[in-house]
Symmetry: C2
Subunit: 237 residues, 2 copies
DNA sequence: ATCTATATTTCGAGG
DNA sequence: CCTCGAAGTATAGAT
């Protein structure tokens, strides 16, 4: 299985304070891109080795109520934490009562390995252009244009150029994106006429309607099936 | 100051397990919209009262390495947690060693009060339409159309109707959004011709290019300046 | 339930 | 550093 992304949170030796978990009664104010206020209540304060501070309630899934992302500095006074970043944004935590305060050294994390993101879908489709239509061949991946790269540029059985936009889930935005590419590519006399294909694991109904209205063909791709196919890259000799 | 949003994480009496914090050596696999794998390492496992489970390293800001959002169920076996949601996605946590395992009752959170989000910018611009151009007057906010509400509908000095799309930061998507509105509004013989303005605290270069190419005027708005101006709504008597 | 639009989006890659 | 596009985006509101 192909490794698409590896996220190393940090590596190598370091000498920063380890993860800190505080249960405290606190009120919090964020003064930055917006202002946000949290009335006094019991919450979890999570200070990570990267310097980030997050304020969690016992709900709201993984998202904290309030936070400051690194790089930032934590100034700790009695009853008051002030977290500041380079942009001058502040997270001010007034602490009325500390119930617990632990620190734990976790060490560097080996990182996350993902499989099945859009880039992987693109790689697989580039190897199996026949899934887009019989006789399709690849001109190139990430075909550069003035307004950004086209995911795949292909040639169909009649040697007509076809731009392919790939999404895991296609919405109306993907149709607009492909439309912009097509408009630009069709101004190029050496390429025009250029057809369009929207290829995705799932396509929103309204996206399909808009696409077909604009003469863009929609192709639903089965990721697991693609992954199971032998690669064109295999050299037999 | 206007209260724009209040987020209550949960309220009223409840009888669910309280927040649980586990420091453990674990490996994690997510099998869902994609697959993701975390090799064995020491991490923080956070189980909230809402049922969510998140796996944190000592970095990566507030985002967990892996997680499952509620609603989901946690099946706990010796050395193995299996978290499953309704869609059948799974988060499988193999636990080699538990360093700590605490539970803490936090109680309901009074919730977050925000000020300064896009809705506030819209309210301020509605009160100060002159910032969009001399002689501009407001027809209405959230002008309804078949494909959604237009942020502001105005009349310029020449009594021409102008649709205004407001963003904190405008990208190409905002231009497309406004373009769809304009296309629709210009089919209405009672309104046409309708002009367009993209108003934002910042405008991405490509968004500006595309907007101006389509005859949409771009206006950069200073939120703090607007906030400091006296309101038209003030009644003096 | 589906779709639209917002978000302190966050995050990573590329120029 | 900015710019841009993807994300298990998540989340709330409207239809």
């Amino acid at each position: 299985m192909r490794v698409i992304a590896r996220i190393a949170t940090h590596g190598g030796p370091r000498s920063v304070p380890p993860m800190r978990l505080v249960i405290a009664r606190c009120q919090v104010d964020y003064l930055g891109r917006l202002t946000a206020h949290l009335p006094m209540a019991l919450r979890l304060l999570l200070v990570k080795a990267d310097g980030s501070v997050s304020v969690h309630a016992d709900g709201g899934a993984y998202k904290p109520l309030n936070w400051m992302s690194p790089p930032c500095t934590l100034a700790e006074q009695p009853g008051r934490w002030t977290v500041t970043n380079r942009a001058g944004e502040q997270l001010i935590i007034e602490i009325a009562e500390v119930v617990h305060d632990w620190r734990h050294e976790l060490g560097a994390d080996p990182g996350l390995v993902k499989d099945g993101v859009e880039a992987h879908l693109q790689a697989l489709l580039a190897e199996h252009t026949a899934k887009l239509g019989p006789g399709f061949t690849l001109i190139r991946r990430e075909y550069p244009t003035a307004i950004g790269p086209v995911d795949l540029l292909c040639r169909d059985a009649d040697s007509v150029t076809v731009a392919v936009e790939i999404k895991r889930r296609a919405t109306i935005d993907a149709v607009e994106q492909l439309t912009r590419y097509l408009e630009l590519l069709n101004r190029d006399c050496l390429l025009a006429p250029v057809g369009g294909i929207l290829a995705a694991q799932s396509i929103a109904p309204q996206a399909r309607t808009l696409a077909e209205d604009r003469g863009i063909r929609c192709v639903v791709v089965d990721y697991d099936e693609l992954r199971g196919m032998p690669s064109n890259d295999l050299r037999l000799f």
